[in-house]
């Protein structure tokens, strides 16, 4: 019996679009997240992948209650988040934490590492004495593989390297012993040679501390390495969702396939993969205000038909736990 930590149903986040003078028509909306459904089981690392503007980061922020949703429901351990927030916001914050993309911006440079790590403890009254605080801090620093914690405690963020600082950011999120962590592009701003270490750390911590992750990134390879299951998003909707090996290894949706083809690789034979992208795919993502009718991807899809222009496809289960939102997914699947 699966233990679902997070359940997202028909989640929606629409921003009102500023109307320009003389624009006709009713209120325009930026449909950043547009009816998204998925579940995350305990201990799972669930990924949201996509290009900019697809809604992956906004979805994460909605789940963490950093922003208010426009519609739909989010359940944490079977309780609605909005209700939980009203009842006991602090507890919610303790149980659900965030790791942001840029540690130099998300960690206040005025504070020392010690202050940054002790603040969560004092906010949640998780340590009563100086020595307890110190031991918890040292404990979490050793969990994130910082070898000599004493050297770091009095330093400030700008004195540390990117990799070290991101470990501190992870420590700060985990010192509260949360159940669920939202990692928003945790390695995108780090040097390439540092990334593997941080990702492996996150995997190790999942095992050791029993964490569940929502992992948002634009990098397919990193997503495939880190995540158990993945959802590919496009213009606010999930177009394909399933085990990461399947979805990113052998994608079925035309957009996911295009992402995979476009991905630069060191594989000798595939190095000029980009030449294989059909021209119609183009490059530009349409404006989230002007979402195409029918299937959102149809203007760029090499396989689009009349049906695609009229009817928006639903997510259908094609293989075991692997869903695709495309009218022709089975036929396209045969190609692989």
């Amino acid at each position: 019996m699966e233990d679902l930590i997070i359940r997202v149903e028909q989640l929606r986040k629409w921003f009102p679009a500023k109307k320009r003078l003389l624009e006709r028509g009713g209120g325009n909306w930026v449909r950043a997240v547009d009816d998204v459904d998925f579940n995350i089981s305990k201990g799972e690392i669930f990924g949201l992948v996509g290009e900019s503007g697809c809604g992956k980061t906004t979805t994460g922020r909605l789940i963490l209650a950093l922003e208010d949703k426009t519609g739909g429901n989010i359940y944490y351990k079977n309780q609605e988040i909005f209700v939980l927030k009203k009842r006991n916001q602090k507890e919610l914050r303790r149980a659900m934490q965030v790791i942001f993309q840029n540690p130099y911006e998300s960690l206040e440079s005025r504070l020392s590492i010690r202050q940054l790590l002790s603040e969560p403890l004092s906010v949640h009254k998780m340590a009563s004495s100086e020595s307890e605080i110190r031991s918890k801090i040292k404990g979490i620093l050793s969990e994130v593989d910082i070898a000599e914690p004493d050297e770091f405690l009095e330093k400030h963020p700008f004195e540390l390297s990117g990799g070290q600082l991101q470990r501190i950011a992870i420590a700060r999120a985990l010192i509260l012993e949360p159940d669920f962590v939202f990692a928003d592009e945790p390695v995108s701003m780090l040097d390439v040679s540092i990334r593997a270490g941080i990702l492996k750390l996150l995997l190790k911590l999942r095992e050791k501390l029993g964490l569940t992750y929502l992992f948002v990134t634009h990098d397919l390879a990193i997503s495939k390495f880190t995540c158990d299951r993945v959802a590919v998003m496009y213009l606010g909707k999930i177009v394909e969702i399933g085990p990461s090996q399947e979805v990113l290894g052998r994608p079925l949706h035309p957009y996911a396939q295009a992402l995979r083809t476009a991905l630069p690789t060191l594989d000798t034979d595939k190095r000029k993969n980009y030449r294989q992208l059909p021209d119609v795919i183009g490059g530009e993502i349409p404006n989230a205000i002007d979402i195409p009718l029918g299937c959102r991807f149809h203007p760029r899809c090499p396989y689009a038909t009349e049906l695609c222009k009229e009817k928006e496809p639903d997510l259908r289960e094609l293989k075991k736990r692997h869903y695709v939102a495309c009218h022709y997914a089975e036929d396209l699947g045969l190609k692989h």
Binding site: L64, L66, Q89, K90, R93, R94, Q97, V98, F100, N102, E105, S106, L107, E108, S109, R110, E119, P120, V123, H124, F158, R172, L176
Partner: protein
């Protein structure tokens, strides 16, 4: 600059203390009305024969005290409302901004006069009357800083940790406003002194026979044509010097704060 300013202020306070310990009672009238500066009365006497030097020195206490009270009130009220208004935004913010903008349009002294006329004389009352005119400045600065920091990632990260509003505003955002506030406070001490004197000059503010620079200066005007220049001049001089002292400190601090904040940006 700061050092010079501080020295001036210390000297003025020193004179005050000296006068309290040694000098004659500033309220004591003698029959040597309007005598010019001489050895027994260094600054001369006023029309009621009171020693001007001791009046002027004692006056330091009152001027500085009232100015200090006014700054204290305006800083606390202005900053806190500015912080809350900026942080919460929305309708409350719009209303308070409108109110303070209206207040900001009037010169602080006029506001002080109006309020002093309504609530009457006294140290605290005068301090309050003057404070109101300066509140908008603190409101604006603090609100501006809060607004600029509010959306920064580290604030959101602190919110995600679970920090409450109080902690966010006072521990994480206000510290960034402190350098500007301090510089403004010292400058406003100077303005406050002038305003106290102004009120005194007009007969509002501290009640007679309190030795107050403005009041004495005002009273002294009547005797200038008679050749007695000292009852007005010395109080006036003290006003100028003390304001200069505070202005120097204020501008000096401002420079120092500007220099340290630009130095922090030298990282690459």
């Amino acid at each position: 600059m700061v050092v010079v300013g501080i020295i001036i202020i210390v000297i003025a306070l020193g004179l005050d203390v000296y006068a309290h310990i040694v000098g004659p009672d500033p309220l004591a009238t003698t029959y040597q009305g309007l005598s010019p500066p001489a050895l027994d009365h260094i600054m001369g006497t006023d029309q009621l024969g009171r020693d001007l030097f001791s009046r002027v020195s004692f006056g330091t206490t009152f001027s500085l005290l009232v100015a200090f009270i006014s700054v204290a009130i305006s800083v606390s009220v202005g900053s806190i409302i500015g912080a809350l208004s900026g942080f919460f935004g929305g309708k409350i913010d719009r209303v308070t901004s409108l109110a303070f903008d209206a207040l900001y349009a009037l010169p602080p002294l006029i506001i002080a006069i109006l309020i002093a006329a309504m609530i009457g004389a006294g140290i605290v009352n005068t301090g309050l009357a003057i404070a109101v005119g300066y509140m908008p400045q603190y409101f604006r600065i603090v609100r501006g800083i809060i607004l600029s920091i509010k959306e920064r990632p580290f604030i959101e990260s602190t919110r995600a940790i679970g920090a409450g509003y109080v902690s966010l505003i006072f521990r994480h955002m206000m510290p960034y406003a402190i350098p500007s506030i301090i510089a403004l406070m010292t400058l406003n001490m100077g303005s406050g002194i002038v305003d106290v004197a102004g009120l005194g000059f007009l007969g509002l503010g501290l009640p007679p026979p309190t030795p107050e620079w403005g009041t004495d200066l005002g009273r002294g005007r009547d005797f200038i044509t008679a050749g007695a220049w000292w009852p007005s001049t010395f109080p006036g001089l003290m006003i100028v010097i003390s304001v200069l002292g505070f202005t120097l400190v204020g501008e000096g601090l401002d420079e120092i704060f500007r220099a340290t904040s630009t130095r922090k940006k030298e990282t690459f």
